[in-house]
């Protein structure tokens, strides 16, 4: 039914375009038009489609919750919990689809009938109201066209409005992120104190398994369960290992590409290195788990070291390789944009190329390089799949790279994989971790971007 209404709106809007254009050509025979005939068509089509579609969309969004409200209003006085009401409503819905296999009660049957009834009313009233709005607005636009009013300006204002709304999508996404993270996090901190979360030393979310809702509200259940210190430490530790791999290789190859490499080498090697950035992270994760982890373990055994098969070193090392191209490309750009006269001055003083790079170009490019490294760090902190697959999932507080540790992102995946229950502190803990991840990466990005921007301005 929904798609039928939608298609009807689209078809009517399309046909009214041709209708409007034809009308304009008719008017043209005895009057001067205010715009090209196609604008008359657009004008009519917009008035035909836009209001009806808006109403249709709003109706479709709000209909389920309104129907739900009416059905459940019969039971609101019985003092049922939110969860029980939800369950009841799901039962009613499945019964109305004839898919219900549980115990039938008179209440349930009555509600299911009522539900079907409401859905029927809602469906038909939707059709009638949307179509009548469509006819009314088209009629209004038609009289306007017939009076030969301006059509181009309203059409362009409408389009501009659509453009503006599209540009809000980015803001809406940010608001959506903040809203969804904050909302769950606040609920989480009503059960667990902020202090315990930020300074607690033990992270065992599996312990927070609750059997029913009454237990979930008991804070003593969660003492020593959601201490995020091991997670934060693990995150920064793995990021540190990654940067130990990525900074030397990335920076040196960036410098070589910018200062030494022949045109041919640049032409071929640069895109090939950038392939590393395009490989999906899950593929790196598989490689780390299948090849690097066992390799390090065997290597450790032959050296007499105890290496866990899922070590921080394997995950961090592979992550570092993933980050190489970010650092090498960005530092390449930054170094290339250092003005030539700085180099010439240094050469004129008799410095070798490497001395020039180390003493003149590197200091001059330092802010930009720091910016690129910060962006790399933010990548490393936000990286998920490599850690999930190659490092452990248990949150150990350790500084030994040969043991397994866990990160913010990995814990979010561990908690949220499979079925989640909203309102459970475990689920909310994932959102709290997500919020801290969001804040850390946001700060890193803002700092990095502003550093790079300042640097660019300096030499432009």
């Amino acid at each position: 039914m929904n798609s039928v209404i939608f298609l009807t709106i689209v078809l009517l809007a399309l046909s009214s375009y041709f209708f409007g254009r034809k009308k304009a050509i008719l008017i043209q025979s005895n009057k001067r038009l205010t715009a090209l005939p196609k604008f008359y068509g657009y004008y009519l089509a917009i008035w035909c489609g836009a209001p009806a579609f808006l109403l249709y969309a709003l109706w479709s969004i709000f209909e389920p919750s309104i129907v739900r409200f009416f059905i459940l209003s019969d039971y609101s006085s019985q003092g049922l919990l939110e969860g029980e009401l939800n369950l009841f409503y799901e039962k009613v819905k499945s019964l109305s689809r004839n898919q219900y296999s549980g115990e039938l009660t008179a209440e349930l049957q009555r509600s299911a009938e009522k539900y079907l009834n409401f859905r029927d009313i809602a469906k038909w009233s939707k059709v009638v109201i949307v179509l009548s709005l469509l006819i009314a607005s088209t009629g209004y636009a038609y009289t306007k066209i017939s009076n030969n009013t301006k059509t181009r300006e309203p059409v362009e204002i409408f389009l501009k409005g659509v453009f503006f709304l599209s540009s809000l999508a980015a803001i809406l996404t940010t608001i959506g992120i903040i809203f969804s993270l904050l909302f769950q996090t606040i609920e989480f901190f009503q059960v667990i104190s902020l202090f315990d979360f930020v300074f607690g030393m033990h992270w065992y979310p599996a312990k927070a398994f609750v059997r029913d809702a009454s237990e979930a509200l008991d804070p003593s259940m969660y003492s020593d369960t959601f201490g995020a210190v091991p997670i934060f430490a693990g995150t920064f530790f793995i990021a540190l290992i990654a940067m130990c791999v990525a900074i030397p290789i990335g920076l040196l190859s960036g410098i070589y590409m910018a200062e030494y490499a022949s045109k041919r080498l640049r032409q071929y090697a640069k895109p090939v290195i950038e392939i590393l950035a395009g490989i999906p992270t899950v593929v790196y994760g598989f490689f780390a788990a299948l090849t690097v982890g066992p390799f390090l373990k065997d290597l450790g055994l032959s050296l007499g070291l105890e290496v866990s098969a899922e070590s921080a070193l394997a995950a961090g090392g592979v992550m570092g390789i993933m980050i190489i191209p970010f650092i090498s490309s960005l530092s390449d750009d930054v170094i290339t944009s250092v003005p030539q006269n700085l180099r010439d001055g240094s050469y004129a003083m008799g410095a070798t190329k490497s001395e020039t790079i180390k003493r003149v170009i590197f200091p001059a490019a330092l802010p930009g390089i720091v910016g690129s490294i910060l962006l790399g760090v933010s990548r490393a902190i936000g990286e998920t799949m490599i850690v999930v697959m190659a490092s452990g999932l248990a949150a150990n507080l350790t500084l030994n790279p040969l043991e397994s540790t866990s990160t913010i992102t990995a814990q979010i995946v561990v908690i949220l994989i499979g079925d989640q229950q909203f309102g459970d502190p475990k689920t909310q803990a994932a959102f709290a971790l997500g919020l801290s991840l969001f804040i850390v990466t946001l700060v890193l990005n803002i700092v990095a971007l502003s550093v790079v921007k300042k640097y660019r301005e300096k030499y432009e």
Partner: protein
């Protein structure tokens, strides 16, 4: 130290520095080579599948059918092929004990019933005769045949027993073990059995997600870029939008997964595990990438084009839609493809919105539960069975193929259609 020696030292330092640079590039390239070699060498065997060709006697008595009359399709469909299969397997070793019969059965994929039935349905003439039928080998034997399983370790640490290997070797000597192109890898949905698992369901899941992502992200991003570049007044609000877009581009992908979970699933109540939700989540993620690319190519259109159009009496909107946007389209499209390639390889956000469920049907619409190719890689990589390792690598090869294909497409569009302004 005299002047000469100092110069030599300095030149040595120069050489050393250059060597470090070369070594760094070499290491990065080396890793790429090792990585690709590893994936290809473990993965290529998955494109072959091992079959056992065994003589099957479609005897009427064994199938409990009437021997005098040709069975109809319905008769065959109703017939019990399990017992029939077991009887057939016993012919491989007539002296087999009870346990050994079970081992014989385990040499074949559990779909042997269906395979025997379909053979008879396709070749009704073979009823009552003994014919050679091709049956899928179990993944353990498949791995043995491909040489991925060492045979020299003690029996209790092996998945294939000595007895199975003995029968298998005998079949092999008779030329009854054949290896053919593994079409089912591309046509089957996921399965718990490695020999039957395929990527069709996850491929369709990826395809639907990417289509949803494209149909949302491309128009919205293009219009947003047009607004910001061509119409927006320079004020604080547009600056804010710009900062927002730049930051959004660097937000970790898993946060978008949390957004999808917390808003799309929990607030809007969209169906879990579906490519629809996956596509919307990915579209939010690729939106900033496409906006940035589109803005860059709009910026690259020289002002003279706009001025010429305006001078001819076109309105601002007409100038934009007829001249600026078409000229900026190639750059925007190649940015879109790169954004989509990123989205295609994304795993973490899809796991959070539940696209990690085990799906053994091929989804027909974006509203059906599905996995996606990267998630399939994750699911198989977490599975303990040896047979899945080559599947993971093969799946990675398929994914990398699409990524390379998309990136080349983006390059092609850029080089072929983009106007270079001087």
């Amino acid at each position: 130290m005299n002047k000469e020696e100092r110069l030599i030292k300095r030149y040595k330092a120069e050489k050393r520095f250059q060597f470090y640079g070369k070594a760094a590039i070499f290491m990065a390239l080396l890793f790429l080579v090792v990585f690709l070699t590893k994936i290809f060498s473990t993965g290529y065997t998955a494109f072959q599948k091992t079959w056992l060709v065994i003589p099957v006697n479609y005897n009427a008595d064994l199938l409990y059918l009437d021997p005098d009359k040709k069975p109809t399709t319905e008769d065959i469909n109703d017939a019990d092929f399990y017992e029939f299969g077991i009887e057939t397997f016993i012919t491989l070793d007539p002296d087999a004990s009870e346990d050994q019969i079970m081992e014989l059965k385990k040499m074949f994929a559990f779909t042997f019933e269906r395979e025997l039935k379909y053979y008879l349905l396709d070749n009704p003439d073979s009823f009552g005769k003994t014919v050679d039928v091709k049956l899928t080998a179990s993944d353990d034997l498949d791995q043995v045949f491909k040489g991925n399983y060492p045979r020299d370790i003690p029996e209790n640490r092996r998945r294939a027993s000595d007895y199975q290997l003995k029968i298998f070797d005998k079949l092999n000597e008779d030329g009854r073990v054949i290896s053919e192109f593994n079409a089912s890898f591309f046509t089957n949905a996921d399965s718990r059995e490695a020999e039957l698992a395929g990527i069709a369901s996850s491929f369709m899941g990826s395809l639907f997600s990417i289509l949803v992502c494209l149909s949302i992200a491309f128009p919205v991003a293009l219009l947003a870029a047009v607004y910001l570049e061509e119409f927006a007044p320079k004020n604080r609000f547009t600056d804010f939008i710009e900062v927002n877009i730049n930051n959004l581009a660097a937000v970790p992908s898993i946060v978008f997964g949390l957004l999808g979970l917390g808003v799309l699933l929990a607030v809007f109540g969209l169906p879990r595990s579906t490519p629809l939700v996956g596509g919307i989540t990915l579209s939010l993620m690729t939106l900033p990438t496409i906006i940035i690319a589109a803005r860059a190519s709009l910026k690259a259109v020289p002002p003279s084009i706009r001025e010429a159009a305006l001078a001819m009496g076109a309105s601002k909107m007409q100038t934009t839609m007829h001249h600026t946007v078409p000229l900026a389209l190639p750059g925007t499209l190649s940015g879109t493809i790169i954004g989509l390639a990123q989205a295609l390889g994304e795993t973490a956000p899809l796991i959070l919105i539940g696209m990690v469920a085990f799906v053994n049907t091929i989804p027909g619409t974006p509203m059906d539960p599905a996995a996606s190719l990267p998630v399939q890689i994750y699911i198989w990589a977490e599975s303990a069975e040896r047979g899945f390792v080559e599947k993971v690598s093969a799946c990675i090869m398929v994914l990398l193929f699409f990524l390379i294909f998309m990136n080349l497409g983006a390059q092609l569009i850029r080089h072929k259609f983009e106007k270079k302004w001087n």
